[in-house]
Amino acid sequence: MFEIFTQLANWLTYSIFNLSPDSKLGDAVHFFIEDVSKIYVLLLVMIYAIALLRASLNIEGVRDYLAGKNRGVGYVLGAGFGAITPFCSCSSIPVFLGFTSAGIPVGITMSFLLTSPLINEVAILLLMSLLGWKFTLLYIVVGITVGILGGLFLDTIKAERWLQSFAAKALADGKNKNATADSIIDSSQEDSKLSFSERHEFAKDETLEIFGRVWKWVIIGVGAGAALHGFVPDGWIEQHLGDGQWWSVPAAVLLGIPLYSNATGVIPVMESLINNGLPIGTTLAFCMSTVAASFPEFILLKQVMQWKLLATVFLLLLVSFTLVGWIFNSFSSFL
């Protein structure tokens, strides 16, 4: 099914640009054309198809649903919804406050917020097409697990102590409302049935919006991947960052956290790193930390969290991605 993109790349690279298949440059250009064309087509088709299905899912609905749930299932649902609900990282503060003032515990909210950037339809799609279903499944399971355990941990240490005061007050108010009135949820969000043309409108807007945002990331990501692919000598990565060096995982995570990329940009780089012999766990750790956290996001979160909580979240991410890396490096032979 994907051969057409290989053929397109063959034709453009070897016939039109007249590059030799054996040259480094030819190799890199071929990789670039094949991946960019494949990713663009997949993105357009799949974002549209998925948006059609999820046109009726919105963040307010998720909040209302989570507000009534007990903690045990709350983390799992929070992380699960994080995976399927799209939202722009610029909305993470309103979402955080919206959840908080509905009395949802901080940990469940964080399960949602941690999982959301890691797992989304674009990421899953790219992983499937570039790295295969086994890796994709692994990525999803790890992403959701980090979300669940992270949220559980934050509630265990009573992270709500370290909210900014107005957010803490909103949380307390929300909890009281939950305790006194059995229904804080006004049913203004009744399940309105959407007609097909409304779904189509939504899906069209979504496709244009997401594609407009990510197309350049694809170029950057695949470009970096192609450069790695063509120009880093074979075996260099394996030799220097291979299995033997335990420190390479935490180092990769530390490097990844301040770097910001979204999943779309980083997955083509993952493909290239793995093909070049970087251990799977190290790759996973690096990429998840790039996607899950960034300095701009931490600065935004500062509006609702005190430094202590921010530092805790940072450490939490550092530790969990490092563990992910080590665990997968030791099990990589099964993949």
Partner: protein
């Protein structure tokens, strides 16, 4: 005169929303004041979770995306 607020933490989409409302109001000859509200506590008070959101004369009319041109025209004509 309509008081219009665009709620959002200052991302690109919010700026775009505010700009297009101003432009369309100008084209339609409707007098408006458009302000961008970035304070999270204020945004929270409108019970909004997805931004950009639009508030006209203290009434929330839209949230979660850049509004379409025809939506904006409709709001302005009321």
């Amino acid at each position: 005169m309509k008081q219009i607020k665009v709620l959002g933490s200052g991302c690109k989409k919010c700026t775009k929303t505010a700009d297009s409302i101003e432009r369309i109001a100008h084209d339609q000859g409707v007098e408006v004041t458009v302000t961008k509200e970035t304070d999270v506590q204020v945004i929270m008070s409108y019970n909004v979770m997805s931004t950009p959101a639009v508030v006209i004369d203290e009434k929330l009319v839209h949230s979660g995306s850049i509004p379409h041109t025809d939506q904006i025209i409709e709001w302005l004509s009321k």
